[in-house]
């Protein structure tokens, strides 16, 4: 009797292991299946309710976490404030000069106009992946709101990621910190271009790779999306979306490249409201 039970247990274990491998083989790197989209559509209202109900508890835990962090952050913010004041003065001068030049050349190519082709759809984050190996969030807007796969997603501070899949009332957003994410970007002011990739397990830093080592990049410079277009191909992201700030730049002698560490402007760990840039042309 006992042996029979053990045999049955092992058979179930083997069956489920084989089942997992079959599912993995069938669905890996093939996007979402109809079944997954159906389950996600059914559960998205439940997740939305759970998200709203649990918000006070989440805020309480966040408050504790932020209190611990506040001490270390205080001195860093003071230093940043001094730098920001200096930059603000320089920016004012540059804006005045820019306005005069615009009048002269009669051009109006502000980044805001580049984004005006997009129709922003605001969504709330209702779920998040539990493991750092996959960095994605679920938002409560989907294809019925005009959201499409590969639409850029931004928060108030900058680029957050792109839509990986869209169902009726919800979408999955692949964050910049997901291992499969890559964004073509440039450092401003020098305009050096590269690819922003994540460092898996470290949500506070991104890496700007493939930079020509002849052009030096320094800490404090901003990184924005490059938004290229060539031979019928185009970047998924419009140009000029803020990505992050350079924290460290080092030259890799063996690879004749510069590797730049970036701190993302958007707080990718505590996302609540985001905007999906729907419509518009890529690049």
């Amino acid at each position: 009797m006992y042996r029979k039970q053990v045999r049955r247990r092992r058979a179930v274990l083997a069956l489920l292991i084989v089942g997992s491998f079959v599912l993995l083989t069938l669905t890996y790197a093939r996007g979402s299946t109809g079944f997954q989209r159906g389950v996600s559509t059914i559960f998205s209202p439940v997740q939305e309710v759970a998200d709203r109900a649990l918000k006070p508890a989440r805020d309480l835990v966040d408050w504790f976490d932020k209190t611990f962090d506040a001490r270390g952050e205080n001195s860093r913010l003071r230093a940043e404030l001094v730098t920001a004041r200096k930059q603000a003065v320089a920016t004012q001068e540059a804006l005045q000069e820019n306005g005069q030049l615009r009048k002269l050349v009669k051009l109006d190519r502000s980044p805001a106009l580049a984004f005006s082709a997009y129709k922003p759809v605001t969504g709330r984050v209702i779920a998040r992946s539990p493991t750092v190996w996959r960095s994605s969030v679920t938002i409560d807007v989907g294809s019925s709101d005009g959201v499409h796969v590969d639409d850029p997603v931004v928060s108030g501070a900058g680029l957050v990621g792109r839509v990986a899949s869209a169902e009726g009332g919800s979408s999955q957003v692949m964050l910049l910190t997901d291992h499969a994410s890559a964004v073509s970007a440039k450092v401003v002011p020098p305009g050096v271009q590269g690819v922003v990739k994540p460092e898996v397990g470290n949500p506070e830093e991104l890496i700007l790779d493939f930079i020509d080592s002849t052009k030096r990049v320094h800490g404090g410079q901003s990184v924005v999306t490059a938004g290229w277009r060539a031979q019928g191909l185009a970047s998924l992201f419009p140009p000029g979306l803020p990505l992050g700030e350079v924290t460290r730049a080092s030259i890799l002698q063996q690879e004749a490249q510069q590797q730049v560490d970036i701190r993302p402007f958007a707080d990718l760990r505590n996302l609540d409201l985001v905007q999906v840039l729907t419509g518009g042309s890529r690049g």
Binding site: R8, R9, V12, L13, L16, I17, G19, S20, F21, V22, L23, L24, T25, L26, T27, Y28, A29, T33, F35, Q36, R37, V39, S40, F43, V46, Q47, A50, L54, A57, R58, V61, D62, F64, D65, F68, A127, R128, S129, P130, T131, V132, W133, R134, S136, T138, E167, Q172, H179, A180, K197, P198, E199, V200, G201, N202, P203, E204, I207, R269, N270
Partner: protein, 182 residues
């Protein structure tokens, strides 16, 4: 554990509540830059009370639901969690659970194992980006959180599944038995 349709419904409700709580709450809060992961602890507690069969099936189902809700490749979470369920169930069938710390310690160890399992599966599938050493801190902290969350999860599941448990809790005797005439 005697699994009747009513008990099965309770296990399904626990699993669903656990998954929703994980995705909507625990994944979105951070303490020391790490989010707790209660799913390995949930599967481990179900297996500690119900045995390896319950552990394996609940691990697979919970993993399947997570992958469906996150619209990720199916099978990764199922594979890891069914392994955790089997190991916890095997422990329950071979050893006695002595002391109140045992479930919490098992949850801690098995969460660490689950995180290592995720890492191995993900590395086998391929990673397109460099991996930070901070991932080790994340794994260790997740297992520490599982130690503190494992005990309440175990107590809650034991309470919900009490009618099906074979081992009834010991009834405290109010009076010591006495020999007649003594």
């Amino acid at each position: 554990m005697i699994v009747t349709p009513k008990i099965l419904a309770r296990i399904a409700a626990l699993a669903l509540a656990g998954v929703l709580l994980q995705l909507s709450f625990f994944s979105r809060v951070e303490l020391f830059h790490t989010s707790p992961d209660i799913l390995p602890a949930l599967v481990a507690c179900l297996a500690l009370l119900g045995g390896s069969m319950t552990g394996v099936v609940s691990g697979f189902s919970i993993g399947f639901l997570v992958d469906c809700l996150l619209v990720e490749a199916l099978g990764i979470t199922s594979l890891v969690l069914l392994g955790i369920g089997y190991l916890a169930g095997l422990y329950r069938e071979r050893f006695e659970i002595h002391g109140s710390l045992a479930p919490a310690l098992l949850c801690m160890g098995l969460t660490l194992l689950a995180e290592l399992g995720f890492a191995v599966v993900q590395l086998l599938l391929g990673i397109d980006a460099p991996v930070s050493t901070l991932i080790v801190r994340d794994m260790l902290l997740k297992s520490v959180y599982a130690f503190f969350l494992g005990w309440p999860i175990y107590l809650l599941i034991r309470r919900v599944l009490r009618p099906a448990l074979v081992e009834e809790p010991k009834v405290r005797r109010r009076r010591q038995p006495t020999v007649l005439g003594a």
